[in-house]
Symmetry: C2
């Protein structure tokens, strides 16, 4: 936290220096458009290139953006000082005001303040969570895992039929005891409950996490921290469709819009367990498929071109989906019996290491 504070102060001091030297105050902001995002072979993640742009105070096109940047930075400094965490939505409201003697607002919409937060993240190389700005909140976890958080010791193996509700910010959590062979990440809360009830995590000695759709930053960071600290393999289990596979890719590689934080949110060693379109034939699920919508097919076509889906195994699955115009939800496995997923499908895949990269 002290380091983050120093970075904010350094930025402020630099602007003050500009003023004292009677120069046009400015900050340097790395460019985040797709032209500056690339897949990094070495790390196996999406990363930002090194293009950047200056933002000036005295510049008709920059003046407002520059002011907004200073407002957001000052707000973050205040959050750190008061030790308060808040959301992007709250930041927007807290900073929204009208400039004196004008009709001009500091921010009209959250769409204006969100990118400024990302600017600050990139510029100072600090996760927004470390500025005490919290992101979306979703995700649940259970397993043989003891953590310490805000002074409480929490045993994630003793939470009944529920689980631990993952907060938006997991930076300050300490892992006290981890007794697991792998992490299983599931896209859906209902499947999480099914596996939880079948004691899957006890029988197979794993940590069970549900993302509830696209994984929130807190959940991605938790997965990343667990796998980094304890060298745990991560297997991701989603629907067999382009959206499910995209959820997987964001956990593994990071997202295009947040490429600057892939190293802290991405989990390059994650593997895809299923479901695939090939699973439909392999496990006799033909009667339980769904017609893919146009938007699913379009996404699959886009993904064919992504460098991080160039592996032949992925190209095959994407093409199968496009050709057959079909998808399968993970609940489709219930067509083979309610315990098929916990007793046959998952253990079989894990035993044979039948994963996609």
């Amino acid at each position: 936290m002290k380091k983050v504070n120093e970075k904010l102060e350094k930025m402020g001091t630099k602007v003050l220096d500009d003023i004292n030297k009677q120069e046009n105050p400015s900050v340097d902001i790395p460019i985040r458009s797709l032209s500056n995002v690339a897949y990094d072979d070495k790390t196996g993640m999406l990363a930002l290139g090194d293009k950047s742009a200056k933002r000036f105070l005295f510049h008709t096109a920059h003046a407002k953006k520059f002011t907004q940047t200073m407002l957001v930075a000052a707000f973050c400094k205040q959050l750190l000082k008061e030790n308060i965490h808040t959301s992007l939505r709250d930041l927007f409201y807290a900073l929204k005001r009208t400039f004196p003697n004008s009709d001009e607002n500091t921010f009209d919409e959250q769409k204006e303040s969100d990118p400024v937060v990302v600017d600050l993240e990139v510029m100072l190389d600090v996760l927004r969570e470390k500025f005490h700005l919290n992101a979306d909140i979703r995700g649940r976890v259970v397993g043989n895992l003891k953590i310490k958080d805000r002074g409480d010791i929490i045993d994630l193996s003793r939470l009944g039929s529920g689980g631990w509700a993952i907060p938006s910010n997991v930076e300050e959590i300490a892992f006290k005891k981890v007794d697991a062979d792998f992490i299983l990440v599931i896209e859906k809360n209902a499947a999480f409950e099914r596996l939880h009830e079948d004691n899957f995590w006890k029988k197979h000695k794993c940590i069970l996490i549900t993302t509830q759709g696209q994984a929130a930053r807190g959940t991605r960071r938790l997965i990343q921290r667990l796998t980094t600290d304890f060298n745990l393999p991560v297997y991701v289990f989603t629907d067999a469709d382009s959206y499910g596979w995209y959820i997987y890719s964001v956990i593994k590689y990071g997202s295009m819009s947040l490429a600057h934080v892939s190293d802290r949110l991405g989990t390059p060693n994650a593997k895809f367990l299923g479901m695939t379109i090939s699973d439909i034939d392999k496990f006799g699920l033909k009667n339980f498929t769904i017609r893919a919508r146009e938007v699913d097919i379009k996404r699959a076509k886009d993904m064919l071109k992504y460098e991080w889906f160039k592996h032949p195994a992925w190209q095959k699955e994407l093409k199968l989906m496009i050709q057959r115009k079909v998808k399968a939800e993970l609940e489709a496995l219930s067509g083979r019996g309610l315990k098929f997923v916990t007793e046959t499908y998952l253990p079989g895949k894990i035993k044979k290491k039948d994963f996609l990269p």
Copy 2:
């Protein structure tokens, strides 16, 4: 559970008797269309009337529906026997198959199996959760509360910055210790985290619950069970708009589509804490409002006509929203400072009992 099983068996036996008597097998199903839903003054909840309709096996318009009813009932009996819980989506897949020597499926879409589950709930007067069918999963809770679930004792006051992830089914949870003066229910996870961080539930001795939008059945049932068993007041805190108010009304009165279970999911003593459109003037939030969309206004106009929004205080708020075409999110309170909500707004409302009915 034994009672539920008996009810299912009784229904099966009745159909068998019909067959033995060479009568056309039938079941009696209460009608659930709006014409049979009314606001019950005595209980203060939405309830079903007593119209019902017969469903026959030998009847061109009923045969498939009748068969589906038997399939779902048999499936539920199996769930109880094997002590498995599952989701409506899984039920659909597990029962989806093609009739022998035909192109006809038992169910083509989940849209067909869901209403059959509701039929069964109404017909046998049993919550679907007691058939081991789980609903949507959302919601988090913290507070001075100890519960017992699946053999685990869970202390909801020692869960760090997270909380207990509320499962879809809370029927079998036992309350071991409850030390709270009221329950505060919030619409949004981010506001829940803000209050949690400020130790609101400790300072004000309450149980804090987030619904994450429309409250899932598990969360509604948890609120209802807590308030019934411990006579706790319930205060609901949502955005100032028709959607937020609707979320409140569903917690309090039940929903129109599930009027047959209001008595087990509704919490008639719930009070609305805020936000209201009047709050915008009262708390100086004019600069932090949002323009209401057409769909918000339309919903407000519909709600004006609902019997359970006929109270003058509600009519006033609905009309204000329609006239001003404005709404306010609960984050708007951050415009008055990040701690305004926890230190001023909420304590003030609770102290003055400034609630809407």
